[in-house]
């Protein structure tokens, strides 16, 4: 009798012991692979913002205008084909992933609106790339950063990029060789980084830099090419959480050289008086940033050493010891010029991407605590400060040709 009672209660308990509360099947998730954030053009597109999160009077003033348009690339397992499947492609990413759009006043607001339209639960664990339209980046990225930081699913190794054109176009671009478009985009960036064409500025690093004192953040600036791939056309740099400008690809090279980041990936072309044109690619970069505070005036000295390999020679056929020295001189001259120009650009926009402020704060704490104190003061000082650049180029190799 007693055994029977135990048996029955055990059987009955299976109703309550169904396992995990957090059981959350793959097919029930809408995996967001990419997010694109645009400014909504109210006249051309007729979206209305549903009243879900905010009440009209609760919307912070700066978010009232413009309203953001969120585009998400979703992959629903079992519903998209995974793995390469020959043929097709180039038809836009709608074929392989699902692209949905909605609007909102801030990112969380837009995400809530999006969830309101979908059967599956949004899942951010596979988010690869977040594309911001330039206007959004200039409006300020506080809401976007905060939401993504707070959400524990988001990987800090995802990428955030700024797009020159509409951000949604980036997500609609579909490379013919990869079935999940967002993966291709993030691979493009990851490999650029490996080849020395981009700094290691994924989400985690970017967030560190924009919040640190005395350093500005930077993220890739991209353009869509032929609707199926992206080009890294520069690096957007920030002052606080607002984008203030962007560098050209060559200036990324300059930026990386100043930081001494390896491997080198950018080339520089110079011509000598006798008409030869030589292109050398940097292979190893070393840099030393020296900071000095004299009479309450900070100044910085950048000493950059670049090892160069000659990759192309036209209109001449005369490489030798002497010529190499001459080319090095030319390269140094032109590099210093370019470096200074780039620095002036940063100064103008008050964006200290090199972290000179952070270094000053670390090395001269007294000066910082007494005279600078805040980030805001630093950007004024940075604007005025004297930054000297020395570049030393050293041509080490010239490929398979002797001359």
């Amino acid at each position: 009798m007693n055994k029977r009672v135990i048996l029955i209660s055990l059987l009955f308990s299976t109703y309550f012991l169904t396992g995990c509360w957090d059981r959350y099947e793959l097919e029930e998730r809408a995996n967001i692979l990419g997010l694109a954030i645009d400014v909504m053009d109210e006249e051309a597109e007729n979206f209305t913002v549903p009243e879900i999160t905010y009440k009209e009077e609760n919307i912070p003033d700066e978010y009232k205008e413009p309203i953001i348009k969120l585009t998400a690339q979703l992959a629903v397992p079992g519903k998209i084909k995974l793995g390469p499947e020959g043929g097709g492609g180039g038809d836009g990413s709608e074929k392989t992933a699902w692209v949905v759009q909605t609007v909102g006043s801030s990112l969380k607001d837009a995400m809530t609106n999006l969830q309101q339209q979908l059967a599956e639960k949004l899942y951010l664990g596979h988010l690869q790339i977040i594309v911001l339209n330039e206007k959004v980046a200039k409006r300020g990225t506080e809401d976007i950063n905060d939401f993504l930081k707070r959400e524990y699913e988001v990987r800090r190794t995802a990428w955030m990029v700024v797009s020159e054109d509409k951000a949604e176009e980036v997500l609609q671009a579909a490379p013919p060789i990869e079935t999940v478009p967002a993966l291709y985009l993030s691979d493009t960036l990851k490999n650029s980084m490996r080849f020395g064409k981009l700094p290691r500025e994924h989400l985690g690093r970017f967030w560190l830099d924009i919040e640190d004192i005395g350093i500005g953040g930077s993220i890739p600036y991209i353009t869509v090419i032929e609707n199926d791939r992206i080009m890294v056309s520069g690096l957007a740099y920030f002052k606080g959480d607002k984008m203030v400008g962007h560098m050209t690809p060559f200036e990324i090279g300059v930026y990386l050289a100043m930081q001494g980041k390896n491997p080198g990936g950018y080339a520089i072309a110079v011509n000598t008086d006798d008409g030869g044109i030589y292109i050398g690619e940097s292979s190893v970069r070393r840099s030393d940033i020296k900071i000095n505070v004299k009479d309450g005036q900070p100044s910085a000295q950048l000493n950059v050493e670049v090892e160069v390999t000659i990759e192309e020679e036209t209109k001449a056929n005369d490489l030798d010891n002497k010529k190499v020295k001459k080319i090095e001189k030319e390269m140094e001259k032109s590099a210093v010029e370019k470096f200074e120009k780039t620095i002036n650009k940063w100064k103008e926009n008050e964006s200290d991407v090199l972290g000179i402020g952070a270094r000053t704060r670390a090395e001269f704490p007294h000066y910082w605590d007494e005279q600078v104190k805040t980030d805001e003061n630093w950007s004024q000082i940075f604007k005025e400060m004297n930054i000297e650049v020395n570049v030393e180029c050293q041509i080490e190799r010239a490929g398979m040709e002797w001359k």
């Binding site: 509360w21 640190d212 004192i213 952070a358 704060r361 670390a362």
Partner: protein, 342 residues
């Protein structure tokens, strides 16, 4: 382990590694004191010799305070553990269940004898240390020297610095368990070597963690993070990209770490109470502790409360521990009290 870098950096900013080092130094005084007492009273636990030195009434009074502190710490630590689980791993699982099962596990293990306790620690040690190293080592490339300088912090007063030191000492205070296991050792007189080794391996890891977290995040950004170490684990990219997300592994190892920590406190409480009331009924005490700790874990209303209480107790507890141990050592010498020989 998850919040310590933030707690210390909040107090001392860039001076965190230095403060940690000083904290380790000061804590080691407490450790040496305990080891000395252990040698002097090889057959008694902390509770036991403190009765001998201070007399029954005063000794018991102090011990009640000490044991209560430990029970409260068990409760709060469990709550912290459960908050991380809810916040980062299992958002839908009711928090009561995480607390309940963690405490239940501790309670059940404390039914049995000391060697079970020792084997569990022995078994989990590598499972804690290895994943922690896996997280820490690849982050070295993210360390910026300008996050670490100046090593004495910005505008830091001695008072501020000391509060950071005390926070660190609080974070590593569970070496206290050694005072409860000494009499169970095969050779209590030889406890010094093992105790010191264990202490320095553990504290070195905490020091490394603080330094790496500061170096990677800087003294500003880290204050905004709930659990800096967890964020660190999420930023790590393992070379070769074998696994994309380290943080899952890290959380598992962290669960082991919390478990062994709680188990230590629990052990102190169960054995301590048993010795105080001269009972061997560990089961009964274990269940009682379980109920009290469970209720305490439910007291804080939110995560900020949890950390306020925890920090308060850490600081209070540490001052109590160190001063008390020094007092005991001095009194034992002056009064020439000695435990019976083995």
């Amino acid at each position: 382990m998850l919040a310590i870098p933030r707690a210390i950096i909040d107090k001392v900013g860039n001076a965190a590694p230095l403060a940690s080092l000083v904290g380790i130094g000061l804590s080691s005084i407490g450790l040496l004191g305990l080891i000395y007492l252990g040698k002097r009273f090889p057959q008694h636990t902390f509770i036991g010799y403190n009765k001998i030195i201070l007399g029954k009434t005063i000794g018991s009074l102090f011990m009640i305070v000490y044991l209560m502190l430990s029970v409260i710490l068990i409760g709060l630590d469990t709550r912290q553990f459960a908050e991380v689980l809810v916040g980062g791993l299992l958002p839908n699982t009711p928090i009561h269940f995480s607390i309940f099962f963690m405490l239940l596990l501790c309670a059940v293990i404390n039914y049995s004898n000391v060697s079970t306790f020792a084997y569990i620690h022995f078994f989990y040690l590598p499972l804690i240390i290895l994943p922690l190293l896996v997280v820490i080592l690849p982050t070295f490339k993210d360390i910026e020297y300008y996050h670490l300088l100046p090593i004495n912090g910005h505008n830091l007063s001695l008072n501020g610095f000391m509060s950071g030191v005390v926070t660190m000492m609080g974070g590593i205070s569970n070496y206290f368990v050694i005072s409860m296991v000494i009499p169970y050792l095969k050779n209590p007189k030889k406890n010094a070597k093992g105790g010191i080794w264990g202490f320095f391996i553990g504290t070195f890891l905490v020091l490394l963690l603080n330094t790496v977290a500061l170096g990677a995040f800087g003294d500003q950004k880290i204050l905004e993070m709930m659990w800096p170490t967890l964020v660190l684990a999420r930023m790590v990219e393992v070379p070769g990209e074998i696994v994309a997300r380290i943080d899952a592994i890290f959380i598992i190892s962290w669960i082991f770490a919390v478990f062994t920590t709680l188990l230590s406190y629990y052990f102190i409480v169960v054995r301590g109470v048993a010795e105080m009331i001269n009972s061997k009924n560990y089961r009964f005490i274990s269940v009682g502790t379980f109920l009290i700790a469970f209720l305490i874990a439910l007291i804080p209303s939110d995560i900020y409360d949890v950390y306020n209480y925890l920090l308060f107790l850490w600081v209070g507890g540490v001052i109590f521990y160190i001063l008390y141990v020094i007092l005991l050592v001095v009194l034992a010498k002056v009064l020439r009290k000695k435990g019976s020989a083995v």
